[in-house]
């Protein structure tokens, strides 16, 4: 009775991904109540397999829905709820249907990446590579994507990241949600490296460097970062020279303090 109602709810959720977020959440909370009645809200080894699959699908829809609505907190919650389901199902011999596990995990990895939580990212990766070979993980359409992005970001090959986000390389539309965040992230990365690397840059090449659409956007971006634009060239503020006098004095003081501390420290503190 209750599980039939669940199935109808699930098909409604699945068939209409464009449903407004508010409506999706109301459907989901109804589904969760039903799950609670069926005692399948949290999985246990004794839960019947078909119910397990049903509950997992509900949560997966919830996770995907929250990603579409850009609700990172809700998504993280769903991922945490889904984890025991995956753990239970993966090693049961009569279950070939893995659900959307890789997709959800891939999205989660990407979320961690955009939030700059590299430690969690790598912990998650370690867990993935622990169960199957890392090559297998990298070869996966959904999982390989965030892993490649991370590697390029660390290396500094921003143009590859950019290409991966643009040219229909994104594995599915949910992954596209993160493109925007990633773009602004790599843009500020590039900007901060450029400040140190170039003495000056022509506007035209800055445009291509920062993946901006027009020179007007470049000027706006330059203003936001406090760069000076003169005769079609951007001059970066000399970070090392500006506050040199004050800084050296500060450094001197710090240095002498350090020397005193290192000399006396072991004996008096």
């Amino acid at each position: 009775m209750a599980d039939r109602e669940l199935t109808t709810l699930l098909t409604r959720l699945k068939s209409t991904p464009t449903l407004p977020y508010a409506e999706t959440t109301s459907l989901l909370s109804r589904a969760k109540l039903l799950l609670l009645k069926l005692n399948a809200l949290t999985p246990s080894p004794t839960t019947p397999p078909n119910l397990l699959t049903l509950a997992r699908d509900i949560y997966e829809q919830g996770a995907l829905g929250s990603i579409r609505a850009r609700d990172a907190a809700a998504f993280t919650r769903y991922v945490a709820q889904l984890r025991p389901f995956y753990e239970l199902q993966r090693y049961s011999p009569n279950n070939k249907d893995g659900g959307e596990r890789n997709k959800i995990t891939g999205l989660y990895l990407l979320l961690l990446l955009t939030q700059g939580l590299y430690a969690e990212f790598h912990s998650e990766l370690e867990a993935l590579s622990g169960e199957g070979g890392l090559d297998e993980v990298e070869g996966d359409r959904y999982l390989g994507y965030p892993i490649r992005l991370e590697r390029w970001l660390m290396e500094g090959s921003y143009d590859r990241v950019w290409k991966a986000m643009k040219r229909g390389e994104v594995p599915c539309e949910e992954f596209g949600v993160f493109s925007e965040i990633l773009t602004s992230q790599i843009r500020s990365e590039i900007a901060s490296s450029s400040e140190r690397a170039y003495p000056s840059l022509p506007l035209a090449s800055t445009k291509s460097l920062l993946f901006l659409d027009s020179e007007g956007a470049v000027v706006e971006f330059a203003r936001a970062r406090g760069w000076t634009v003169r005769d079609g060239t951007i001059y970066f503020p000399d970070t090392s020279g500006t506050s040199a006098a004050g800084e050296t004095a500060e450094k001197e003081k710090e240095l002498s303090l350090m020397v005193i501390e290192n000399t006396l420290g072991p004996y008096y503190f």
Binding site: E87, E120, P199, L255
Partner: protein, 577 residues
């Protein structure tokens, strides 16, 4: 209790005073000095197998271990190994008795240490015999003894047997009589139960009977949890160790989530809780280490991290446990990209690792991880690390890796990873090594920046096998920002121009390195002071002496007053009285 000590010595000494004759051909002195086992002064005598029928099942003591003490070997008759092993085990009972009576953990540790020498000679029959002689059918430990017998596959041995025939012939009549008498008057203490339990575990482990060992360990752990005796602490730590070892080896082995390692977590956590509440440092340290190992075996990094942040590793835990703990902690931190901390922990772990050959595996594993972490931090490990004779072969793939990273050759790096992927995977360093790619690129850029004052981006791109000039430009820009190199880029002409390199000695770096070393030395000093042991109650003895001296003085003063003693007889400074 202390009165027992003298007659116990022969038993401790491996029973070589035992009376049975062994043909000379069996003696075969190996011409080696007997190896000293740990701190024990006693020499362990391992006699080559003789003709008793028990030998058929006994593992042959291999020649390297078949040391015979030269002086005793010549004249004195030899005990046969079975009886001697039994004697050894029984002498450990005496240690345990003393540990309980004097409440001194050192005796328990001594008993535990002897396991490694007993282990080589242990057979189900020997153990069954000891169990049978230790328990009577009516004693409280009898059900447990039955379980042990069941586990070692000798369920039909009946309890309460008097020391067997061989025993009576072999050992000195007095010792045998004493052993016999003791058993009649006294119930086996729980420490002895657990000690025999550990021997059972060891036996099953050596016989590769993993599943049976795991089942028995569960029983044993239950028994330990029902007892609350402080003298059991170090024994309990050992029991948990084997418990988790069995769980790890039972199929499906980790990292499969169905492996028993997952199911023993609640038990271990409960043990940890109890140990903390009882201030049971041995178990606490052992269980924390086991849990960490457990989590890492299934790649549950975040759980391991949480465990570390919510527990406090006991400060005065055994050195080996500290080393293990530091290793696992270092591993967790390395995965979490906290390389500086990881480096600190792993360095400490490698330094604390025992230098004896039996712990070589640990040192190797820790060193491997340490090397990778050093590389990740951008340092190049010391060449001397790879030259140590014990490590050379094990570290060879890492040596090649370091070479590739040092030169900044991306191509070599990729081939080494491909060639040794299996080794790296087995060592659990593969994912970490994959992260090194960016370091290789950075080193490559640094090398180029040092060798050329100006180099085109195209050349950089070709040398480092990067996809395109654009990629090269971004990478170089990032390297400049991260402070890897001192250089500027020229976009229009497409080259990188290096700045002059400053003098390292003008910076604070040498001072910092020096300070680091001083700090390490001071920490070592502090730890050494803390690790010293002082005899208990020594100060009271002094107090007593002082009191006696005062008493004497008072008497003298009295005598002086009574005029019986001349002041001249005493020292001049007595005037002060």
């Amino acid at each position: 209790m202390p009165g027992k000590t003298p007659d116990k010595e022969p038993v401790e000494n491996g029973g070589y005073r035992g009376g049975k004759d062994i043909a000379d051909k069996d003696l075969k002195p190996k011409g080696k000095k007997a190896s000293k086992k740990d701190d024990d002064d006693e020499m362990t005598v391992v006699v080559p197998p003789s003709k008793t029928q028990k030998q058929s099942s006994a593992p042959l003591p291999n020649d390297a271990e078949g040391d015979v003490t030269m002086d005793d070997a010549e004249g004195e008759p030899k005990a046969d190994p079975v009886a001697q092993t039994i004697n050894d085990i029984k002498s450990d009972f005496a240690h345990l008795d003393r540990a309980v009576a004097l409440f001194d953990a050192r005796f328990t540790l001594r008993a535990l240490r002897s396991i490694s020498s007993i282990r080589k000679r242990l057979t189900p029959d020997i153990l069954a015999q000891v169990i049978a002689e230790t328990y009577t059918p009516s004693s409280a430990g009898a059900p447990f003894a039955k379980q042990m017998l069941q586990a070692i596959g000798r369920p039909d041995v009946s309890l309460g047997r008097q020391p067997g025939q061989e025993m009576e012939i072999d050992s000195e009549p007095k010792a045998a009589g004493k052993n016999g008498a003791k058993k009649e008057t006294k119930e086996a203490i729980p420490e002895v139960d657990v000690f025999l339990g550990i021997l059972t575990q060891v036996l099953l482990h050596d016989a590769k009977q993993v599943r049976r060992g795991f089942e028995f360990s569960q029983v044993l752990v239950e028994r330990i949890r029902s007892l609350n005796r402080r003298t059991l602490d170090s024994l309990a730590a050992k029991v948990y160790f084997y418990y988790s070892l069995f769980a790890e080896q039972t199929t499906p082995v980790p990292p499969s989530p169905q492996s028993p390692v997952v199911s023993i977590r609640p038990t271990l956590l409960a043990a940890l809780r109890t140990a903390v509440l009882r201030k049971d440092i041995d178990t606490q340290a052992a269980v924390i280490v086991l849990l960490l190992r457990n989590y890492l075996s299934t790649s549950h990094i975040s759980q391991a991290d949480l465990l570390v942040s919510h527990t406090q590793f006991p400060e005065n835990a055994a050195n080996n446990q500290v080393a293990r703990f530091l290793y696992y902690l270092g591993r967790t931190r390395a995965i979490q990209l906290r390389y500086t901390e990881a480096h600190e922990h792993l360095t400490a772990a490698t330094r604390k690792a025992p230098s004896s050959a039996c712990a070589l595996g640990f040192s190797q594993t820790a060193t491997k991880l340490l090397l990778v972490v050093e590389l990740l931090m951008g340092d190049i490990p010391d060449r001397a690390t790879f030259r140590q004779p014990t490590m050379e072969t094990a570290l060879h793939p890492y040596f090649l890796l370091v070479q590739a990273v040092r030169v900044g050759n991306l191509e070599d790096f990729e081939t080494i990873i491909a060639d040794h992927a299996d080794t790296f995977r087995r060592d659990g360093t593969y994912t970490l090594i994959l992260r090194l790619r960016q370091n290789v690129i950075k080193t490559g850029i640094r090398m180029m920046s040092l060798s050329y004052s100006r180099i085109s981006l195209r050349d950089i791109c070709i040398r480092l096998h990067l996809g395109s000039e654009e990629t090269a430009e971004y990478i170089v820009a990032k390297a400049i920002r991260d402070g890897v190199i001192e250089a500027t880029l020229d976009r229009e002409k497409g080259f990188m121009k290096s700045k002059e390199v400053g003098d390292v000695y003008a910076t604070r770096e040498p001072g910092e390195a020096f300070h680091d070393r001083i700090r390490a030395c001071l920490a070592l000093h502090d730890e050494s002071v803390k690790a010293m042991r002082f005899p208990m109650n020594q100060h009271r003895l002094e107090l007593k002496n002082a009191q006696e001296a005062r008493e004497r003085e008072r008497e003298m003063a009295k005598e002086i007053q009574e005029g019986e003693l001349d002041e001249d007889d005493l020292g001049g400074d007595f005037d002060a009285m």
